[in-house]
Amino acid sequence: MTRFLARRLAAMVAMLLLVSFLVFSLLALAPGSLLATLMGTAPTTPELIEATTLKYHLDDPFLVQYGRWLADAVRFDLGTSVRSGENVLDALGQALPMSFQLALFALLLVVLVGIPLGTAAGLRRGAAADRVVSTAAAFGMSAPPFAVGLLLVYVFGVLLDWFPVFGSGDGFADGLWHLVLPAVSLAAGLMAIVLRQTRAAMLDVMDQDYITFARARGVAPGRVLVKYALRNAAVPIVTSSGVVLIAALSGAVLVETVFSLPGVGSLLVVSVNTKDIPMVQGIAMVAAAFVILVNLAVDVLTGLLDPRIRARQVAS
């Protein structure tokens, strides 16, 4: 297992390196000259042009620039925002907790609602409950998160006035209260994905001979549900949860925008719209690290859950 982890970590670093190159190349993607991009909103005086050229070593070849950028990035220096002159990591540090809370809240909803509902639907294939849940899931899958958000704002924030629909609140309880609608908007689509995956996995598992054999031997229904059905459905569920967590990154951007939450998502939208490349690069690196970590977590978890996967991981 340690060897597996070590190997995975090495692969992670390699992936990050690859991603870092792509992320750095974002610079080249922006329309207009590199210089113009990096000068941001500052007026183009010759002095500033010279200073900017020097600061970013724009006269060096692209690869050398990349190397320098990477060396800084490794030392946790992702540069400063073109837009505000703020240190990118500081800005990220301020925005991350918000997004993290939102994601965690949504993930909790997904896990506590999506998985049980999916399990229930999978156990009662074709029943009314299954059909209701499956239809709801089809809607959840198909509704853009921002549309769900706007709808929730309108219904629960304006018409009914039950929840605050703006900002992040003060203190823990108020903050949580403020996060209810955003988290629900974010979770709706993700819940649908997990629910459908869970349902499919349960249907698949419930058709298996080992379930029938267990029941035929008089194994207690609780045990059949937990140790047979859920344990075997767990791998696809965990895998899809990983996918969902990654999808949450994109969803969070929309939801934070709708609810004006000061998270990484809103920061990204502002930075993209203002072509604040260092900030976008910083966010992209953080997102990449997150994605890689999620995948690692999924691998480790599925390995723990399924001895066959574990054996393959240990052997390979």
Partner: protein, 271 residues
């Protein structure tokens, strides 16, 4: 169609209507979609303008009808490209296995892990790309899912003796893949196509909502939602109509995809 069951038929009707709008474009719209009537700006739904007008006095109904083309064609293109590439590479990976499969699958694994919408936001946003760039980027990002789904369905088929029998007849690989394997994974291909379509539809609208990739003022549904958002408290119909259409299209496509896919599994069970 009948064999797909009631939900599929119910889902197919709105899709057909929308497709008709896509094909006919402005023909069905009661007003020219961009005609402005500033005297009638921001009027609510009524006898003349069923879904009301926007701030420039444009007829919302006409705009959602004519916007269907832009709103749907992009996602359709994305899904088409994704499925076309997915079929070619997915079949190749399943058929040749070994190194071909390893290379394709590794690539797919890496790309599959990407948060697609996020990447699209960054790439399209930074490059200030328009509709074409959006289609291109989303197509690229949809390809891994398509390859994955088609590869796994084709792998099952390629392991079956009828494929080996065809190989034993020494038919060219192309013939075996496209004439023998492909017809047997049609439901997966259709399901993949519809799934990619739904994902792309949502992605397009999300990008437009963020003000990325869409042409402002156009009748594309996502742009209409974004434009109407500021008036959601005073003139909710502006964003409601396109939002309902996006959700309706996506739900119907999802349901249709599910039905096609379910039929595949039941047919396999029934053999």
């Amino acid at each position: 169609m009948k064999r797909l069951g009631a939900p599929a038929i119910v889902a197919a009707v709105p899709l057909a209507v929308i497709l008709v709008c896509v094909v006919t474009g402005d023909l069905l719209a009661p007003f020219p979609p961009n005609a402005q009537d500033l005297m009638l700006s921001s009027s609510g739904p009524g006898a003349q303008h069923w879904l009301g007008t926007d701030d420039l006095g444009r007829d919302v109904l006409s705009r959602v009808i004519s916007g269907a083309r832009v709103a749907v064609v992009g996602p359709l293109l994305v899904a088409l490209v994704a499925v076309a590439v997915g079929v070619c590479l997915g079949l190749a990976a399943a058929y040749y296995r070994g190194r071909v499969d390893a290379v394709i699958s590794r690539l797919v694994d890496v790309m599959y892990a990407l948060p697609a919408l996020l990447v699209a936001i960054v790439v399209v946003g930074i490059s200030s790309g328009g509709y074409a760039v959006t289609v291109l980027v989303l197509s690229l990002l949809s390809v891994p899912t398509a390859i994955r789904m088609i590869r796994s369905a084709a792998s099952v088929q390629c392991g079956l003796p009828y494929v080996e029998a065809a190989q034993s007849l020494r038919l060219p690989a192309r013939t075996v893949m496209f004439r023998h394997v492909l017809p047997n994974i049609v439901p997966t291909v259709v399901a993949t196509f519809l799934l990619d379509f739904v994902v792309a539809l949502i992605a397009f609208s999300a990008l437009a909502f963020l003000g990325i990739g869409g042409q402002p003022g156009s009748a594309e549904w996502g742009v209409m939602i974004a434009d109407g958002r500021e008036q959601i408290l005073s003139e909710p119909w502006l964003s409601l109509a396109p939002a309902v259409l996006i959700i309706l299209t996506a739900v119907c496509a999802t349901v249709l995809g599910d039905s096609v896919y379910d039929r595949l599994t039941t047919r396999r069970e029934a053999r």
